[in-house]
Amino acid sequence: MMDHSVVVGFRRIMDRAGWLALALLGAMVFMPFLTSDPLAYSIGTQILIGASGALGVYVMLRMELLNFAIPGFMAVGGYAAAISASHGVTDIFALAAISFMLPGLLSIPVGAIVLRLKGVYFVLITYIFTEIVQLVLIETPSVTGGTDGLIGFPVLQAFGVQLTAYSSTFYVSLTLAALAFLVAIVTTRIFRQQFSSIAQNDVLAESFGLTLWRYKTIGFFVSSGVAGLAGFSLVNMLLIAHPLSFTATSAVNYIAYAFIGGTGYLLGPLLGSALLVSVTNALSFSGEYSEGFFGIVIMIAVLVARGGLAGALANLWGKLGPRRFRQDYPRPASKVSVKGAQ
C-alpha cells in the first residue's frame, strides 16, 4: 500500500526532463562495455564534474540569480572531502554527505547576506565571495596547504570495497553526479512554483505572501551542496585540492555549460557540459583556446538560441513527438528589462 503512494509521490516529483537526465546518467554506467579507452573515461569524468557544477548555476537561475559562488562552494566541498579523507574517512557516501552538507550549511549564513541582493549586485557579491574563499585557502596553509594545496587522495571505498580499478574515478563522479541531479530534480520540482514566481516578479510574489528568503535559502543550499559534490569529484579526479581549481574565473565554464545546455531545463547542464567538454577534447584545444571557444559559443547562444540545446530539443520534440507528449515545457523566464527594474 505504501509503495503505491511512494510511486505516485515520486511520479509527481519527477518530470520528463528529470527522468531523461537520470536515464542519460544511468546509461553512462554501461560505458565500460563500449570502450576501455582511458581518454573516454577522463572525458566522461570531466563531463560529469562540469554538469554538476553547471547544475548549481541552473538551480539559482531558476530564480533568475546568476551565481558566481559555485567555485567557492566547490572548493569548500572539495577541501572538506580531501581533509576528511586524509583523516581516514574513505567511504564515498560518507564523503559525499560531508561534501554536500558542509557547503550547504555554509551557504545558510552566506545566503543570509548575499540573497538580499539580486540582479547585477548578486553577481558581483557572489564573485567576491569566491575571491574571498580563494584568499582564505591561501592564507590558511596549516589546514588547506596554502598555495601548495593538499596533495594525494587515498583510495576510496564503497560498501567496504576498495575502489582501485582505473575506471573507479569515473564511477565515483557518476555516483556523485547522480546524487546531485537527484537532489536538484526533487528540489526544483517541489518548489517549482515558488522558484518561478521569484524569477518572474519577486516583489509581486512577496506581496502575495511568499516568504522569499526561505525559498531562496533552500535554492542556495541545494546549489551550494551540489557544487560541493562537484568539488569532491574534481579533487578525486585531480588527486589534489588546489586553490587554482576553484578560481572565480572558472565559474564562467559552469555558466557556459548551463547556458549552452539551456537554462530552462534540468537536462541543460548535462547536455551543455557534454557538448562543450567533448568538443573541447575533440578539437584538442589546450585550456587557453577552449576559453575563447566557450566565449564564442555562449555569445551565439545568448543572441540566437536563448533556450540552449535542451530548448532546441524540446521545440523539436513538440513539433515531431507523439501527440500525447505535445505539451509545452515551462519556458525559461529569460528577459528582465533593466528599464523595468529602475
Binding site: L66, G119, I255, E288, Y289, G295, I296, S334, K335, V336
Partner: protein
Amino acid sequence: METVLSTVLIGVMLGAQYALLALGFTLIFGILGVVNFAHGSLYMLGGYLAYAAVAKAGVPYPAAVVFATLGTAALGYLFEVWILQRVVDDHLATLILTLGFSQVIITGVTMVFGHEAPRFTFPIVGNVAVGSLFIPQDKLIVFAISAVVICAVYWLVYRTGFGRAMRALSIDRAVAITLGMNARIIFPLTVALSAGLAGLTGSLITPILSLSPHAGESVLITAFVVVILGGLGSVAGATAAAFLVGIIEAFSGVYIGGSLGTLGLFVLVIAILMFRPSGLFGASMRGA
C-alpha cells in the same frame, strides 16, 4: 612620519590608476546598465597593443599609448554595434555577452602573443626627489596623465552636449529619445569611451606592473571593488572610492602585508553592498 607620507603618496598614485580604470567600468553601467566583464580583458589588450606597437613596429611609446587607446575604443564600438545592442535591456544577456567577449579577447591575445609575459617596460626610469622622499618617475607620469584624463572625462560627461545626452538616456531613455537623442549613436560611443579608458589604463600600467594574457583578471576585481564602494554607475563615487582603495591597499601593503588587506577590503565591500547598496558616497546614476 616619512613612511606614512610615502605610503599616502603611493596610495594616491595607485588611486589615480584605479580611478582611470573604474571610470570606464562605472560609465558603461551608469549609461547602459551593462556590467562589463570584459573590462579587465580590454585593459590587458591595451597593454598588448601598446607593446606590439613599440616592440614590433618601433613606434615611440607615447604614440603606442594613443594607438592602444584608439584600438580598444574601436573594438568596444564594434562590440556594442554588432552584439551588445541587440539585447541591451536584458541584463543577464549583456553580462553573459561581455563574459564571452572577455574570453575571446584573452584567447585571441594568447594565440597572437603566446602565454609568456613579454618584456615591456616603461621608457622612463629613475626617481624624482621631493624633500627626503623619492618618487618613481614612471608612476608620476602615469599619475599626471590619469589626472588629466579623469578631468577630461568629467568635462565630457558634465559639461558637453554629448555628456548631457548620455545622462539623459540613462535617466529616462523613452523621454530622451522623443527629445531627439539617439541611443544608437550615443550607446556605441559610450562603450567606445569606456573601452578606450580601459585600453589607455592598460597601456600605461602594464609596463610598470606586468603584462600577460590573464593580467586583466585581478584588475577586473579591483574595478568591481572600487565601483561598488563608489556606487555602481556613479562617476564621482568611483573616483573618490578609487583613491580610498588605493590608500587602503598602500597601507595594508606596508603595515599588514600579504593578502589580508585585500581580504579586509572584500569584507568592507560586502558590508557596503549590504547596508549601502548605492555606495559610500550616496546616489548612483542607475538602480539595478
